[in-house]
Amino acid sequence: MKYFKKPFSTRLRLLFTLLLASALGACGGLSRTDRPAQVEERGKPPATTTAVPNQTQIAAYTPPAQPRYSRPAPKRAVAVLMRRADDQKRAGDLDGATVSLERALRIAPDDALLWHRLAGVRMAQQRHQLVVQLASKSNALTAAGERSLRSDNWRLIAVARRALGDSAGARDAEQRANALH
């Protein structure tokens, strides 16, 4: 990951205000609170950093990347809990699996995969309305590029909708799932 500093000048700030570039706030966003001088570039478009008079600095638009932790991602802890949830689910301890996934979500609240897994456990518990919500939440956190996770979420939604008697909604979800596959 490459770091760069924000250019700033009075003029720029004037332009900045006028154009409300910062509305988009996409200042590349992410720096640790205790590492204020550095801004993590996310290969993201626009906004403050690109709204400079020097045209050569204007980057072409690319879709924003998957959210990333500003601190070393607590991957191991999350992985351990996810594995534990899998074991619990396999052993039929669905409540236990829910608890483990909820605990993982406290560590990584915007991890789309965790939300998807939670939807999966809820599916096994036949909590169909909750499945639809959790899978939709997972989709909302999934980056555009991650088609297979989106597809899996739509598939869960399709099954849950069918169980809820919404066959039109189920068909729609299936089509979305297939389109992404």
Binding site: C27, L30, P45, A77, A140
Partner: protein, 794 residues
């Protein structure tokens, strides 16, 4: 739900006093002899026999009655065991952003002893960048976490490494037990933490024997020798200097009888002590005594039993107390207020040392141990620390949430264990932030000292778990809970809901749509007219929608809201969890809706979670007294708004904090700490609000006066400062918004027309697909814009 706590109670068939009475009757009958006696004598005997029989019967019946009372008290629900309320457990894992200051505070909150070398449970040491912690065992709602000794390496960016002490393997994640933060005790205010005989340290029992009842293990409930000794001592002294009551008698007195002082009561007490002693073994009596004894008072709360005594005075489980600490508790038996160690430390010390002396004299402890114990300080913590009274606001919320699902009597008597979402670290920082900033604001603005009040609520953004709740400036005062009960007009905090209702109609409204900031003049039902104004009293004409929200323009908002309609706004409030009645008046659009800080948090949680609202929860799980799960309060989400529209709105709320009415945050938060939020100010500057969120926390602060008088503070000058102080102090993930499916970026120019990325001043705005402007310009063919921009830079 019945308490499953099993207490061994030997069931003894029949009842002995009754049998004794019948034996006596037999003897009386056998005494009739000598036919030649005169009738008078005979009649006398008969009468005597009859009286004896009657007395015997009466005594027998009375004994049966007492015996039954004893049995009911002992075998039935002996103690109402209040529900115990726990904070959240602390998860330790590599990558957790926990600093040394926080970890130390968490351990102190748990009552762990800081030592130079860890040698047993509930101890910790701190070296350079390394904590060694010996955890207690703890049973969670999803299983037990074994007590073990671990070492935790910290760096400036958090936890680097966790290992089992002496082991090689890295521990990926573990939980430290949660702190006990309160209890739900019954209306008669007896609070206690039940202990079993096995939890009572031997030195505590020895201390009790030494000063209260030396022959406890030898007598039958009443100690005649003890009474004689006490009597003699009292006669010699000419006043009461010694009591002859056994522990059993003291128990009976506390436990069964009223505090009336009479001979009759004394007789009753003795009789019942005999019954108790006959019926139960000494250890059961001791356990009962240890749970019953009165050890202190805090406001309306009576501290009963050594279990709670240990918590109340030392913030530790009873089993972890050291000799000098148990001696202090034993000393309190004689008079908990007279020897109150917080109020009368010197008296308490003398009494404690007397207990130690007696134990030494009787050979219970060695001379060296006694000397060592006497040399210790009292070791009593500050008033009620870590037991509910530092966080009355949150405990209040927990009680209210529990009452929806449990009967009051179950809460106060069944020994439930309530696991909550409270983050003690965030809570303590929130309390400090509020107190500190309010004081500063009063000084800065020359306001009367102490005139400002405030409330602060912090929840996890994606799950809606309440992490901290401050109901007022004095966080230890269990009074008016402003976070729940200060229902105030929310002013501009409502605007995001209005704009969301607009953005949910992408064909009509986008962030760049121009909306009209023009005078509003509406007839109200009562014949009055409503003529709101902008805060700056200006009229701004056509403004881009995002700018109207960022600058919190009232007139633009009312015009927009009237176009969108009040119904969608009200529907949206409902979807975000507001259950209160909402009047469909146009003034709603400017926040003529009164809500509590907690309700506002509910709305903003839904926004922070990208439109997926979760009911705010203060409780995760409830276990019964046997640590079996009774109920869980799981994570649920419900889509309250289109995630794409919420994304656009949240982008706009980031703008608020960067260039809008919340721009003051830029100087208050670390650079790069991106947040979204909204200021709120009500008429005559009575209420100052700020609601906002980072990626993982949503927080709402309110500042105002209890008498609802003007404060002279806008949202930005008051509540925003409190909010910023807190958010700067605690770990936050900077907000970064992922565009959900169906959102596209398009480059537009200052007039809101599509343009090329390489044009001067081109800005990429997010649009719900298909809603982007249709007009396209090429910057090279637009000399006016170029000239305009050149002017700016010249």
């Amino acid at each position: 739900m019945a308490s499953k706590k099993k207490r061994k109670t030997p069931q003894r068939p029949g009842n002995r006093p009754g049998k004794r009475a019948s034996t006596r009757r037999g003897k009386a009958r056998g005494k009739g002899k000598g036919r030649k006696r005169v009738g008078r004598q005979r009649r006398g005997w008969k009468l005597a026999i009859a009286v004896a029989v009657l007395l015997g019967l009466a005594l027998g019946a009375y004994t049966v009655f007492l015996s039954k009372t004893v049995r009911v008290k002992f075998d039935g629900k002996r103690w109402a065991e209040p529900a115990q309320i726990y904070a959240r457990p602390l998860d330790l894992y590599v990558g957790a952003n926990i600093g040394a200051e926080q970890l130390g505070a968490e351990l102190r909150f748990l009552g762990y002893r800081k030592v130079s070398k860890v040698s047993g449970p509930a101890q910790w040491s701190q070296g350079r960048g390394r904590f060694v912690i010996h955890m207690r065992d703890f049973t969670f709602w999803d299983g037990a976490e074994p007590g073990r000794k671990i070492s935790v390496d910290l760096s400036a960016s958090g936890i680097e490494d966790i290992r089992q002490s002496g082991g090689r393997g890295v521990i990926d994640i573990l939980r430290i037990e949660p702190a006990l933060i309160g209890s739900i005790y019954p209306a008669h205010n007896e609070d206690r933490v039940l202990v079993q005989r096995g939890d009572i340290p031997e030195h505590l029992v020895q201390g009790l024997l030494a000063v209260e009842d030396r022959r406890f293990y030898d007598h039958h409930g009443v100690d005649l020798r003890g009474i004689a000794r006490a009597l003699w001592a009292n006669i010699q002294a000419g006043r009461t200097v010694q009591g002859g009551s056994t522990l059993t008698q003291q128990l009976v007195k506390n436990f069964i009888l009223t505090s009336e002082r009479s001979l009759w009561r004394k007789v009753n007490e003795a009789l019942m002590a005999l019954i108790v002693d006959a019926r139960y073994d000494k250890d059961e009596i001791l356990e009962a005594y240890a749970n019953e004894i009165f050890l202190g008072q805090e406001g309306g709360r009576a501290i009963h039993g050594f279990g709670l005594g240990a918590r109340f005075y030392f913030n530790r489980p009873l089993a972890e107390l050291q000799l000098h600490e148990t001696a202090l508790l034993v000393g309190l038996v004689k008079g908990a207020s007279y020897y109150n160690p917080r109020k009368h430390p010197e008296r308490a010390r003398q009494r404690r040392d007397l207990v130690i002396d007696q134990m030494q004299a009787l050979g219970f402890i060695s001379d060296a141990d006694a000397r060592h114990a006497r040399a210790q300080g009292l070791g009593v913590n500050a008033q009620g620390v870590a037991h509910g009274h530092r966080i009355p606001g949150f405990v209040d919320l927990v009680r209210r949430q529990l009452r929806r699902d449990y009967r009051e009597e179950d809460l106060t008597s069944e020994g439930l264990r309530i696991f909550t979402t409270l983050d003690p670290w965030v809570q303590s920082r929130a309390g400090v932030a509020l107190a500190k900033r309010l004081q500063e604001i009063e000084e800065l603005r020359d306001l009367e000292k102490g005139s400002l009040q405030g409330a602060l609520v912090v929840a996890s953004a994606q799950q809606g778990e309440i992490q901290a709740l401050i109901g007022g400036r004095d966080t230890s005062y269990a009074g008016f809970n402003r976070a729940l009960d200060a229902v105030r007009p929310i002013g501009s905090l409502i605007k995001p809901v209005v704009y969301l209702a607009a953005l949910a109609q992408p064909r009509r409204y986008t962030l760049s749509t121009l909306i009209e900031d023009k005078a509003v003049d509406m007839a109200l039902p009562g014949g009055q007219r409503w003529q709101p104004r902008n805060y700056d009293r200006e009229i701004h004409g056509l403004v881009p929608l995002h700018e109207a929200l960022a600058s919190s323009l009232n007139l633009a908002t009312v015009n927009l809201g009237m176009q969108v309609g009040l119904e969608p706004v009200i529907d949206s409030l409902r979807a975000f969890g507001i259950e209160r009645d909402i009047d469909a008046f146009p003034s709603l659009l400017l926040g003529a809706l009164s809500l509590s800080p907690l309700e506002v948090t509910q709305i903003y949680q839904g926004l922070a979670a990208g439109g997926f609202s979760s009911p705010l929860r203060a409780i995760r799980a409830v276990l019964d007294a046997d640590e079996e799960p009774l109920q869980r309060y799981p994570l649920t989400v419900k889509q309250a708004a289109d995630p794409a529209a919420v994304f656009l709105l949240n982008r706009n709320l980031v703008e608020v904090t960067q260039t809008g009415t919340g721009a003051a945050l830029r100087g208050l938060l670390p650079q790069g700490m991106q947040v979204a939020g909204k200021t709120g100010t009500t008429n005559d500057l009575r209420d100052s609000w700020f609601a906002g969120f980072s990626a993982d926390r949503v927080a709402v602060s309110w500042v105002g006066r209890d008498d609802n008088g003007p404060t002279g503070l806008t949202g930005s000058r008051g509540a925003l400062r409190v909010w910023a102080e807190l958010m700067r102090d605690i770990d936050n993930l900077p907000l970064q918004l992922t565009p959900p499916e169906g959102v596209e970026y398009h480059w537009i120019d200052a007039q809101g027309r599509l343009t090329s990325p390489d044009c001067e001043g081109a800005v990429a705005f997010p649009y719900i697909a298909g809603s982007q402007p249709s007009e396209r310009v090429d910057c090279r063919s637009d000399p006016n814009l170029r000239g305009f921009l050149r002017d700016l830079f010249d």
